[in-house]
């Protein structure tokens, strides 16, 4: 391949890489996307879409022997299963080192489109409070970017992807460019009316999702089949496959190579310019060298970090762009904790279709200022899901015959409302990834080692999320509550919001990237996946990755045009 023809190489085709490909090609740049996963086609290859349980092997309960052997980590995800199998990383073929006493679950896709096919589709803007948090309380370094800097890029992204939601005017959760919000369950209306009366300060809104409630940019409105993660042939949820990659292809400037995993980057004698991207063909083992004027690392937080660390050289002895020593450190995720309430309201109401969304309770703790009764910094929001329990919850009772059978037929005369807190995670240096000194993968690349522990701050916030959930659920009319005491917590990585290991900042001594996601030490290198995140906020991060990616592309293209990068 004549690699000199490329202006930019984008590593990864997930939510960040897809945006880099779209923005750069639309600015007239010739772009090569290198994706380690297999190629699939939008729509045509979503083989699990609309399948019934009875059509799947083991009625959809998975081949346990295969899943234990090949998907020991990935199988823990709610989205893993027979209909989504083709999207996930094979943990046997592509392993990492999980430290038993500091466990971290690395959830990875391995397909063109990456985790944009599997993501939860919740999209929330960060607020000024989020960007100022590190500077205000001293955890982590200050963000070099303000809300005002990124707000236009949020709009730019939202107009393209399509975000349904309700404008509320809340400072801590700025409104997006919205399509109409989704509709409510009867129980949600009942609960909401009571909460607004008894706990009026609780900010509740319809979940904001990158799922279309009306036709948008050539994609169809949602048909409410339910399990989005199987893939959506109508493109009703945003993914690289449905949206950014087709836009990039339409320019004629895109070349996409699947089955190519990037091993390392090489630089020139000054150390300030990447000259080559080394990749391995995962099918043949053949190694290839690609070059372009600029490189965007969008391989996902841990994978991009692995590439930088594995690119160590005389000029960059601790890893490329790592003179600060921060690369690999300050790994964050969100801590998710579930609390539920049982309701006997609206039991004569059911639903048509499956709404792939819930309500959202925005941060109300330490909002604006530190609450006197809070023994933790920062905050959390709740994603709230209604459930109508049925036979799956009740069949484990005694009895046989017609009465037993009949007892399984109708929905239970209750509703469950589950409040799942997503808690902001502080950047702690001891939460980290690094290259194993001796163990290597099948291509000879050193394995990534993970070490992660929750701090007291997240633990205290988790306990508080139960106390507050109890208040909210009782105000909503719950007759029973089941509140987590946060003694047994999810493992880091389980929220699949890993970020922060190549953070941006103002000072090259304490950060790896500048405010345009450009490496302080390498002029033509940009990193725009979750690894650039300097703090974690409590809201879902993908929208912010997309906005920063688009902004970095705008900057890089301008720099290229002025001859600064090439």
């Amino acid at each position: 391949m004549e690699s000199a023809q490329f202006d930019a190489i984008v590593v990864g085709s997930g939510i960040s890489g897809g945006w880099a490909a779209k923005e750069l090609t639309e600015k007239g740049l010739k772009v090569l996307v290198l994706e380690r996963g297999q190629d699939i086609r939008h729509s045509a290859d979503y083989y699990g879409e609309h399948a019934e349980n009875w059509q799947m092997p083991f009625y959809g309960m998975g081949d346990r022997e295969r899943d234990d052997r090949d998907y020991a980590i990935q199988k823990k995800s709610y989205a893993f299963g027979e209909p989504t199998l083709q999207y996930w990383n094979n943990d046997r073929l592509n392993p990492y080192v999980k430290t038993p006493e500091k466990p971290f679950n690395w959830m990875r896709a391995d397909v063109v489109g990456g985790r944009s096919l599997l993501w939860g589709r919740q999209v929330y803007r960060w607020s000024e409070q989020d960007f100022k948090a590190n500077g205000a309380d001293g955890h982590g370094v200050e963000w070099p970017v303000s809300y005002q800097d990124i707000a236009p890029w949020y709009s730019h992204v939202e107009k393209f992807i399509g975000v349904s939601g309700q404008a509320e005017g809340w400072d801590q959760l700025p409104d997006s460019e919205f399509l109409p919000p989704m509709d409510y369950y009867a129980l949600e209306k009942t609960a909401l009316a009571r909460i607004r009366k008894k706990e009026p300060h609780i900010p509740i809104t319809m979940g904001r999702v990158a799922i279309l409630t009306q036709d948008h940019n050539g994609r169809a409105a949602c048909h409410y089949c339910g399990p989005c993660q199987r893939g959506c042939s109508t493109g009703s949820y945003f993914s690289s496959q449905s949206s950014t990659l087709p836009a990039a292809r339409a320019t004629g400037n895109l070349t996409l190579l699947s089955d190519h995993v990037v091993e390392k980057l090489e630089h020139d004698e000054t150390g300030r310019r990447v000259t080559a991207v080394l990749a391995v063909n995962t099918q043949t083992g053949e190694r290839k060298r690609f070059s372009a004027k600029t490189v965007f690392l969008c391989a996902s937080t841990l994978a991009s970090t692995q590439v930088l660390l594995n690119s160590a050289s005389d000029k960059h002895p601790e890893g490329l762009a790592n003179g600060s020593g921060v690369v690999g450190n300050y790994l964050m995720d969100h801590l998710a904790v579930s609390h539920t309430g049982t309701f006997v309201d609206d039991t004569d109401r059911y639903y048509l279709g499956e709404r792939p969304n819930g309500l959202y309770i925005a941060r109300f703790r330490n909002n604006g200022e530190q609450d006197e009764d809070a023994d933790f910094k920062r905050g959390y929001g709740y994603q709230c899901i209604p459930l109508r329990p049925d036979w799956e919850n009740t069949f484990n009772v005694r009895g046989f015959g017609a009465d037993y059978k009949e007892s399984l037929r109708k929905p239970m005369p209750i509703w469950i409302w589950a409040l799942r807190a997503f808690i902001e995670c502080l950047p702690n240096k001891s939460n980290r990834v690094f290259l194993h000194p001796t163990r290597k993968d099948r291509f000879g690349v050193p394995l990534l080692v993970t070490e992660f522990e929750w701090s007291d701050n997240e633990r205290n916030a988790a306990v508080d999320s139960g106390v507050q959930a109890g208040r909210i659920l009782r105000a909503a009319g719950a007759v029973l509550t089941d509140l987590s005491d946060a003694r047994k917590l999810d493992v880091g990585g389980d929220a699949i919001h890993e970020m922060g290991t190549v953070r941006m900042g103002k000072d090259p001594a304490t950060s790896a990237l500048n405010k345009f996601n450009q490496a302080h030490e390498v002029d033509n290198l940009f990193v725009t996946d979750g690894s650039f995140m300097t703090s974690s906020s409590c809201v879902n991060p993908s929208l912010t990755y997309m906005a920063f990616t688009a902004r970095a592309c705008d900057y890089a293209a301008a720099q290229l045009a002025e001859g600064h990068l090439g």
């Binding site: 019934e52 009625y59 998975g62 346990r64 709610y78 048509l352 279709g353 799956e392 009949e406």
Partner: protein, 211 residues
């Protein structure tokens, strides 16, 4: 498959048939779709159980979920599902334990559980539940995990019977009912005699163990 073919395929499926219209057959590409497949239990032939074991499983499944004004476990192919799951899904140790449980049914039935009158069969099943009564399998909420290897045979048998019935084509369409896609209405009325929907995703597949 292009969009038009996909919609044809989808229309065919929603019409409840997997027979292709005249002059139009599923291509190899289309047949890889899970949604265009025949039921799992019709695709694989189990050859694990002896005739006596198969007879006991069939009789016990029929007693657990009999045919009433709606189809029962045997109509829905539950015995075949159980044999497939025991053969291919259970671990070696689990399989040995489960098959021993079936043999115990026959032993309690003088070598031929299926040959007993239904009332005698029921007495045996109820006795097994009496013996298992202290198992945590009966605790509320205990089913939100993939599988309980430690549960007594009668509990595991009941669980496979219920799953095999509720997730079958027959059970999901003729005992439960489909939730039609197309639009969302969160206030749709539920009549006093209305069945629950079949489901796209089992809670047990979502509520997995942390670690």
């Amino acid at each position: 498959m292009n969009r038009r073919e996909f919609m044809q395929c989808a229309a065919m499926l929603s019409a409840g048939t997997t027979l292709a219209p005249t002059g139009w057959a599923l291509s190899e590409e289309q047949s890889k779709y899970l949604a265009s497949r025949d039921p799992y239990i019709d695709q694989v032939s189990p050859e694990l159980f002896s005739e006596a074991q198969r007879g006991a499983v069939t009789a016990a499944a029929d007693l657990t979920i009999p045919r009433t004004d709606t189809p029962g476990a045997v109509d829905a192919g539950v015995p075949r599902f159980i044999e497939l799951m025991v053969a291919d899904w259970l671990t070696d140790d689990e399989r040995i334990g489960f098959v021993a449980g079936i043999d115990d049914l026959n032993a309690r039935g003088n070598g031929d559980f299926a040959g007993l009158p239904p009332s005698a069969q029921l007495s045996i099943l109820e006795a097994l539940e009496d013996e298992a009564a202290d198992s945590p399998w009966y605790n509320f909420g205990a089913t939100l995990r993939l599988w309980d290897s430690e549960a007594p045979f009668i509990c595991q048998f009941k669980e496979l019977t219920v799953l095999g019935f509720m997730l079958s084509k027959t059970g999901s369409k003729e005992f439960l009912r489909p939730n039609p896609m197309g639009k969302f209405d969160g206030e749709y009325p539920l009549g006093p005699d209305d069945a629950a929907y079949d489901k796209s995703t089992l809670l047990r597949m979502i509520a997995k163990e942390a670690g």
